[in-house]
């Protein structure tokens, strides 16, 4: 057991899988010699060498194409897209090629590959380096979408993603890189599609993802002091989605709040809300409420970005008001 930061959990997860499986290779911009612009991949080049840990030119299409082609014939590539915003310059490879290959070829080709990216806001990077793109990825049939909220989950879910036979978009919360927790030694392998209850309570269910999980927990702690008990569910992956855990929780509490970092329109919370409405409408005791970033490009200034992103205070206030009405 030792303290592990979310940042160092990335290299630990990759190293764990590269040690056990020679077919795992890792490529991206500044990932090898520099150890990653977020210092998430330090030490990998030294341990595994330049054949398996590769720096690339600033060429996102080439990076993902190389990962895809290599996955077709037996490698298990991990590709890094430095900021998730940059998916926009290589979205063809993601949406038209990687996501569709297994289906379109009648199962002749599978693509065991992981695309990691630093996702979301909170660091004042402005509109082109702060987007939370989980809803882009979720909208494409053929992509798994994973977003860990803790250092331990980074290791375990990354391992599960690398071992998965199909493509996974792995979204790391750049605002959480500095967060640390005690994590046990030894191999950690988790399971995709398993939500986790991180706070217990019977008055309402708050469903959150990635960096919204600690904010939802802080809100739940604040509300608990007022006697409002919320269950906080960390979804951990959007695809596969653990609908069973969500439905069981909402059936028990009667109220659902989603906390999404992605912009409001077509955010993942709308999908969760639709599933709950269709499946257990009769168990709801009040309207479903979505707490999201507004449908705007993210501003850079501290005060404005803070206002745009869901905060613990906004979550707590929204729940408090909704339950009181």
């Amino acid at each position: 057991m030792a303290k592990l930061t979310y940042r160092h959990a990335v290299a630990r997860g990759i190293a764990q899988e590269m040690r056990r499986d020679d077919s795992v290779v890792f490529l991206g911009e500044d990932v090898a010699a520099a150890g990653g612009v977020f210092k998430t991949t330090g030490g990998l080049l030294e341990e595994f060498g330049g054949r398996r840990v590769r720096d690339t030119p600033i060429s996102e299409q080439a990076i993902l194409g190389a990962a895809m082609g290599a996955a077709m014939t037996g490698l298990r590539p991990i590709a890094e897209i430095m900021f998730a915003d940059f998916f926009a310059v290589c979205w063809d490879i993601v949406a038209n090629e990687i996501a569709k290959m297994r289906y379109m070829t009648g199962g002749q080709i599978t693509l065991p590959l992981v695309i990691r990216a630093a996702n979301g806001g909170g660091l004042r990077f402005g509109a082109q380096h702060s987007q939370a793109i989980e809803n882009w990825a979720m909208a494409i049939p053929g992509l798994k979408v994973v977003a860990p909220s803790t250092p331990r989950d980074v290791v375990g879910l990354l391992a599960a993603s690398i071992r998965d036979p199909d493509p996974v978009i792995f979204l790391e919360a750049k605002s959480l890189y500095a967060v640390s927790e005690d994590v046990e030694d030894g191999e950690i392998v988790d399971t995709l599609g398993t939500a986790r209850a991180v706070r217990d309570g019977g008055d309402a269910t708050i469903v959150a993802l990635g960096p919204m999980v600690p904010k939802a927990c802080a809100a739940a702690d604040e509300l608990a002091e007022e006697g409002i008990r919320c269950e906080v569910l960390d979804l951990r992956s959007l695809v596969p989605l653990d609908t069973r855990s969500v439905l069981e929780s909402v059936a028990r509490t009667g109220r659902l709040f989603t906390v999404e970092e992605n912009p409001r329109l077509c955010g993942w919370g709308a999908e969760v809300s639709s599933i709950v409405s269709e499946e257990i409408f009769g168990d709801l005791t009040g309207p479903i409420v979505r707490i999201t970033t507004p449908h705007i490009p993210l501003p850079s200034a501290h005060a404005l970005e803070e206002l745009a992103l869901p905060s613990a205070a906004r979550i707590a206030e929204t729940v408090r008001k909704a339950l009181a009405s």
Binding site: R54, A71, M104, G142
Partner: protein, 330 residues
């Protein structure tokens, strides 16, 4: 500038008659199947679109003739010929295009998405330029696994103006990947003449920007195509990196089935029909002493093979409805 300098094609004494006849067979079968596909679409046997490679057979057949099954090949939506040249069956190819269960991809791919992984045909791609980066990945995997397999990537002149082309050639050069970037310059990117979209004299010159050799060849000369590709493959297998080949050829038909190609200058098609790659190879065989009867036999055999394949494909069942949800994981 783009038209072949001579009608006759040079012989290559290192190729025996069997090798030449094999290339002729492959070209005739592709020509025959494309004619059947056009017929199938005009009879509304299938919907959607189709992009025929009629006239460009020497490029795909000549290039694939130097590959092994373990070498990979990716191509474009104008890829029926390339997939056949790599070894896919006529019947399964046609069945895929007409949406049958016995198609290469069980009917889920269609005309623009033919894949036969068993013969190293890792897909025809319908987004212009999208597969060039993927060809690099196939080459990277081969390298990483200690194999001397190479990756052959067909694309059109139109692809050379898209970003992925530049990213891919650069990365392939930087990593010395065993890739052969094979540009079939058929003079038109969709409906627009290639010289209206580029200011270089030869697309092959673009190789210089990436530090790799670039060669321009007569793409209607199957022997020249085979020789140039063979040299590029040799370089790639030896670890000397990628090559760009520009094979100048001509699309006998329009861009897609709905395009009558009225943008072509008067007489251009007729001029290029004179340098039909199949006629030129037949002429070479005749000069080698192959009898007209033997050539007719081969033509007839190709015609029969295509007819049988079409019958077989059309008699196959459409995909089972349960297939809609097969190979779904997310």
């Amino acid at each position: 500038m783009d038209y072949p300098e001579r009608w006759e094609i040079d012989d290559d004494p290192s190729l025996d008659e069997a090798a030449l006849l094999e290339m002729l067979r492959a070209m005739l079968e592709i020509r025959g199947l494309e004619d059947e596909i056009q017929r199938a679409f005009t009879k509304d046997l299938v919907r959607g679109s189709t992009h025929l490679c009629t006239g460009q057979e020497a490029a795909v057949v000549g290039a694939c003739s130097v590959l092994r099954t373990t070498d990979s090949m990716v191509c474009t939506y104008r890829g029926h010929g390339a997939v056949l040249a790599k070894g896919a069956s006529l019947a399964a190819t046609f069945a895929e295009i007409v949406g049958r269960e016995t198609g290469l991809c069980g009917g889920k791919g269609g005309s623009m998405h033919l894949t036969d992984a068993g013969v190293g045909a890792y897909g025809s791609f319908a987004i212009v330029g999208a597969h060039l980066p993927i060809a690099n990945g196939l080459a990277l995997a081969a390298r990483q696994q200690g194999s001397d397999a190479v990756s052959l990537c067909f694309f059109g002149d139109g692809s050379t103006n898209i970003g992925a082309f530049h990213e891919s050639l650069n990365l392939a050069a930087v990593w010395s990947l065993p890739v052969i970037f094979f540009c079939e310059n058929n003079l038109y990117g969709e409906y627009t003449a290639w010289r209206a979209t580029a200011r270089v004299d030869r697309l092959a010159d673009r190789a210089g920007s990436y530090g790799m050799p670039g060669v321009r060849i007569d793409g209607n000369d199957v022997i020249a195509v085979r020789r140039a590709t063979g040299q590029a493959v040799e370089r790639a297998r030896a670890g000397e990196g990628p090559t760009l080949i520009e094979a100048v050829t001509y699309r006998h038909r329009g861009h897609s089935r709905t395009d009558p190609a009225k943008y072509r200058p008067d007489g251009e098609l007729e001029r290029w029909l004179k340098v039909d790659p199949i006629r030129r190879l037949e002429n070479l065989l005749a000069t080698r002493g192959v009898s007209p009867e033997r050539l007719q036999e081969i033509t007839a055999a190709a015609r029969d093979a295509v007819r049988d394949a079409v019958e077989e494909a059309l008699s196959a069942a459409p995909p089972r409805l349960e297939a809609l949800y097969e190979d779904v994981y997310a």
